[in-house]
Amino acid sequence: MKKLLVLGALAAMLASGTALADTSGKKIAFSNNYAGNSWRQAMLDSYGIVTKKAVDDKIVGAADIFTTADKEVPTQAAQVQNLILQGYDAIVINAASPDALNGAIKQACDAGITVVSFDGTVTEPCAYRVVVDFKDMGKQEVEQMAKFQPKGGNLLEIRGLAGTSIDDAIHAGILEGVAAHPEFKIVGSVTGDWDQTTAQKAVATILPSLPDVVGIVDQGGDGYGAAQAFAAAGKPRPTIIMGNRQDELKWWKEQKDKDGYKTWSASIAPGVSSLAFWVAQQVLDGRKDIPHDLLVPYLAFTQDDFEAALPKIKEGGVATHEYTQEDALAAIKANIK
């Protein structure tokens, strides 16, 4: 599978893996607060695949996964404390709350444990945060749109779950992109909650009141629903940015086979868990120059490579990518400025 990692992929081969310390005896735990949806399942699968190989290759001594029984903060705080007692050298965490786990995270740091958070990151300064650059993703959507619709025109925006930092960041990126491309104008905005059904309903409701739309910028998980809404209304099909979901890429392929339809797709890869693992490994390796806030690339597909990826995604699932140690080194390098 050819993957386009928008940031730093080219640097992957150039980055040198300088091993300063031996991590083969180190133990890394993964504290996870929820496993109940397809994204989280893909996240756990990716983590399991990568860490199993790392343990087999004697890169680390152990990499165990711990999932709490409920989504509650105190349960995960207790879990982190128990992992401290277990004598783990590092804890990779997808946290239930950005702030309320800080007490337990601080205790872990004080016990000399490296903490790397991702997806659900923590604000405690001693921890590392692997953050996907959602703002750049939003901006890139408009950049790509400019390629497919060089004449510009009206855009419809589909927002994600209200009140989340992810929705905020992507939206800000889209606004920045539109500011840089004055030929585009956002004429409508609906809330799709990253869900095809919700997006379809929302788009269908606003469609009659909209002028002609050339493109849709969205947040992933909503592109297929938007396409359905346009088809049902009998309106011409706009350029819809996709979000790596299996149903979205499948629809894209159908349209491409029919008349060469062109678009672009991007989202956060659940496999970012494996990237967090490698960051933890690098810190244990003795690297002192790793920034505590790591901005990492999102996973994007273009007209040329999405069809190769499609068969590998589970029905109803989302495209993922297992990160390698080299990917992590490249990502770290890209963040040291």
């Binding site: 999932t67 709490t68 105190p74 207790a78 401290i84 277990q86 709350s97 702030d99 601080k106």
Partner: protein, 326 residues
């Protein structure tokens, strides 16, 4: 005739002896289950049995123990409180915001919330409403208020609270001292004072108490106010440990607190509770649910189910032994 009466006294003293032994066993049961869980942890991870280990494993058990005591007061009055978890969350949000930035307003809000608890007790008694329905409704009210106070996770615990919760006394870890203190204070108040007897009696045999001239309205108000007080203490202790709040932080406590009371030798019939047992029950649950599970190295797919299984096994053991006593 003398022989016959002697015979009956002998028999009744033997019966009394058996009953006393059963009661002793029942009293020891919570301690026994705690010892079992501790042994299992010691076997799985000897490193955990240390000053540092106990401090870490048990400090989150303190808010659970306080919430369990709160629930115990309500159960003593033959009622059930389904709102204690979200109430703890609400108190947590107030602690991390108002209590730090404007202590006077914070204290006023917390006292006011205890007052609301007392009013709930009065409402339940006067209108003869089922407490489950009233407190279920209140759980949504507390949750909503918590989100109003703290729309997104954050806030910070007051410094004095952080200092108390991270206090490191010599030799004995702080959570153990705190647990002993909570258990003994409540034991003395509820089991050794005369008004404590009245409070328990109001749940166990309200008709008799009423006939003896005691106000059942007053006892219910006192029981619910005490529940509110310990709920406030629980929320504050929790924020002292986590350092920051989240509107959903206490949601899991409602059922943990009920399980803690039952595991600690309490019963749903009212009046039959044990404060020391409740504290031990809370500690056992906290240890069984988290450290024991983490140390067992169960594959991730089974961890959630294993958590439930451990709780059922611990509670079933308690029911089995108390069955034998009859």
């Amino acid at each position: 005739m003398t022989a016959a009466s002697l015979d009956t006294t002998a028999r009744s003293s033997a019966e009394r002896g058996a009953l006393a032994r059963a009661r002793l066993l029942r009293g020891l049961l919570p301690a026994l289950s705690l010892a079992l869980v501790l042994l299992a942890i010691a076997w799985l991870n000897p490193r955990a049995i240390s000053y540092f280990g106990f401090s870490l494993m048990l400090n989150l058990a303190i808010p659970i123990a306080l919430a369990t005591i709160a629930q115990m007061f309500v159960i003593a009055g033959n009622e059930l409180d389904l709102s204690i978890g979200t109430f703890v969350g609400f108190v947590g949000c107030v602690t991390a915001t108002w209590l730090k930035d404007a202590p006077l307003i914070g204290v006023a809000i917390l006292l006011g919330s205890i007052g609301i608890y007392a009013l709930l007790g009065a409402l339940i008694h006067l209108r003869n409403l089922p407490s489950i329905v009233v407190t279920l409704g209140m759980s949504f009210v507390w949750q909503g208020l918590a989100i109003l106070v703290l729309p997104k996770p954050g806030g910070k615990a007051p410094d004095w609270l952080l200092a108390i919760m991270s206090f490191k006394p010599p030799f004995i870890p702080f959570p153990i001292i705190a647990a002993l203190l909570i258990g003994l204070v409540v034991h003395f108040g509820l089991m050794r004072t005369s008004y404590g007897v009245i409070l328990r009696g109001s749940g166990g045999n309200p008709a008799a108490l009423k006939r003896a001239g005691w106000s059942l309205l007053k006892t219910k108000i006192v029981l619910f106010a005490l529940a509110g007080l310990f709920g406030v203490l629980s929320g504050m202790a929790l924020i002292g440990i986590t350092t920051s709040a989240d509107a959903n932080i206490g949601n899991g406590y409602t059922l943990l607190a009920i399980a803690g009371v039952i595991l600690g030798g309490g019963e749903f019939v009212g009046g039959r509770v044990s404060p020391i047992g409740a504290v031990i029950g809370a500690l056992t649950l906290a240890l069984a649910a988290s450290p024991l599970l983490t140390f067992m190295h169960i594959p991730p797919d089974w961890q959630v189910a294993a958590n439930g299984a451990i709780l059922i096994i611990v509670l079933a053991a308690r029911v089995l032994i108390s069955r034998r006593e009859r």
